[in-house]
Structure formats: C-alpha cells, structure tokens
Amino acid sequence: MAAELHVELVAADRNVWSGEATLVVARTTSGDIGVMPGHQPLLGVLESGPVTIRTSDGGTVVAAVHGGFISFADNKLSLLAEIAELADEIDVQRAERALERAKSDTDGAAERRAEVRLRAVAAP
C-alpha cells in the first residue's frame, strides 16, 4: 500500500470529512494542485471548486468547496472552507434551480457556487 496522508476537511461549523488518503486535488487561486504524501509544507488559498480526495482504500470522495485554505504539514492535510459539501450531500435539483436563478439575476458568485456543486456531483 502506498504511503498515506491524513486529511481533515472542515467547514466553519462542522467537520465534513476526515480520513486517510493517497492523493488530494484542490483548486487554488493559481491553479489546480495535487498533494501526495510527503509533499513539502504548503499553505494555499482555495478557489471555489471541487476537491477530489482519493482515499487509501481506493475510493474517491468529491466535495464542493467554496473559498478557504489548504494547508499541509507533517503528512497532515487540512482543507478549511467556509462552506463545504460532499458530493452525495448535494441536492442536484436544488443546485440546478439555484443555477437558473443565479443566471437570471446575473449573480456571478451564486452562479459559480451552483456550478461548482453540479460539477462535484458529476465528477466520477
């Protein structure tokens, strides 16, 4: 088994997901970043986007994360987000409705949030 890193995905008001993983891909303001065990200590600003966590038992966890930080040190990765939802928590119909509404209101931020949610659900 490959080396593992410990992941904590925390939102402002709850602990969303925690566990062991082999690879975490997140979107920072300067582009996507993939973190594997043994990565150099890192602190980055996250952008709204899906976060993909490849767990050590071969599964994949996808979450929609809206703003926040990624920090990695001592093989411990923390994803801090103001709002974070796991893909299977997302209500697709609601997100679609929110997208429609945001488009008609031309609310860029809300549109982006809804898009990120839908993309997180669609991701394999």
């Binding site: 402002a12 602190l43 980055g44 920090s71 801090l80 103001e82």
Partner: protein, 305 residues
Amino acid sequence: MGAQLRVYKRRIQAVTATKKITKAMEMIAASRIVKAQRKVAASMPYATELTRAVTAVATGSSTNHPLTTEAESPVRAAVLLLTSDRGLAGGYSSNAIKAAERLRERLAAEGKEVDTYIVGRKGVAYYGFRERKVTESWTGFTDSPEYSDAKKIAGPLIEAIEKDTAEGGVDELHIVFTEFVSMMTQNAIDGRMLPLSLDKDAEEDGKKDELLPLFDFEPSAEDVLDALLPRYVESRIYNALLQAAASEHAARRRAMKSATDNAGDLIKSLSRLANAARQAEITQEISEIVGGASALADASAGSDK
C-alpha cells in the same frame, strides 16, 4: 367564600400560572444549552486549524500586514459587544455591558477614542437610552448564530481596521463577550482581536513549543495572509457568538430556575395564609352559629316564663 380567602386564591392561581411559564422557559433553555455547546464544539476544528495557519504565516514570513502590526500611537479602537436579544436571563446582558464599560474606561485612559459595535437588542437599548453613539449594531440572531451572521459582523469591522485612522478607521479591535466555562459559570470577558498577539494565541492552544514547518505559500505569503486574516476574524467572532449564545441559555436557565423556585415558595406561603383565612372563617361561622343558637335559646326561655 370570604373576601380574604378569595384574594389569596386568586393570587395563588396567578403565581401558579407564572411558575408554569418559568418552568417551561427553564426546560427550553436547558435543552438549548446542549445544542449551543454542540455548535461550539463543531466550530472548534476550523478555529484551531485557522489559528495554526495564521500563526504559521505570521511567524514563517516577514510580511507586514496592517492586521498584524501594531500602530505606533493608536488613536481609535473598536469595541464589539455581544449581548442578548431577549431579557429574562438574569445578569447576562448587564454583566457584558459592564465589562464593556470597564474596557471603554481603560481604553479612554490610554487616550484612545472608542467606536462601539453592538450585537443584541439589550445592548442597543442600553446605549440608545443613554443616547450614546453606536457605530453599527446587529440584532435578531443571538439565540442561534450562524456563520453568515459572523461574516456580516466581521465585514464592517475589517473595513474599519483597514481604513486609515485619519479617515475614521480604527487601530485596534476588541471584543467583549460572555465566555462559557460551565453550566454554572459564565464570565463576561474582553479580549483584543486585532492586531494579532500571536504569543498569546499560541499559549491558549497550549502548543507553544511546537515548531512550525517552513511553508510553501500558494500564491504568495502576502496573498495568503490577506485571505487568511479576514477569515480568522470571522471565525473568532463566530466562536464568540456561539459561546455567548451558550452562556445566554445557561444564564436564562439559571434565572428561570430561581424564578420557578421563588414561585414555589410563594405558592406555599400563600396557601398557608389561605388555609389560615379559611380556618378563621370557619371559626367565625361556628361562633356565629353558637352565638345565634344560644341567643335563640335565651329568647325562647324568656318567653316561656
């Protein structure tokens, strides 16, 4: 039924109704404390991780950010006071207000102007009644604050601290809230939120000796700090709001418990008085009957002769 007895009965009824209400409020508050405590616990991971990250950036880089450097001669300070929206919580709000007054005096003694920001209707009413200037106030969510509420509060505060002092900005940011120690103890405390005093934060976490690794910043240390600090302020405010909510419920529970106990005592002494009044009435009736009977007997004995 005699007039006296009727008065007692009515009062007992009124106090019983009050007791029912206070008892219900006590139970509601008790159940809400648990919920509020759970929320405090749930917000902890985010707060500790964020504090760690802030400490890491601030110590690991030589950046000078307006939010971390102390002004040489601070002239204005913002005080954020957290009170409750509703009363009937004992000394909860007035203790917080008193703590804010003390802080205000201390800051004034240091030669700083004080801008007041208030959360909760009670604090707003206190300042409104005294016609003191309140820079901004928020109400309506002290029972169960959400993260968005903390964001709403943090916005203007961060704006004020980023502004130049000459243009009405502030140099320091203090917060007064009620710390939840246990079900029985809640203390109104004040603390300086900005500029950051990192040593103190590290001490609070009990990890002072922990060596932080040299981080690689993405995109850059300045940008990370720029993005981190507002979130840090929000999370501190959120934590304070949650603790204040838990304290408010605990204070209300205690106040309502003593109100219920008092009502019980009152009912007891009133029913004693009512019993005495009833007894007196009965005694009087008997003596009236006996008196009447003997008067009749005397009268009939007289007519026989």
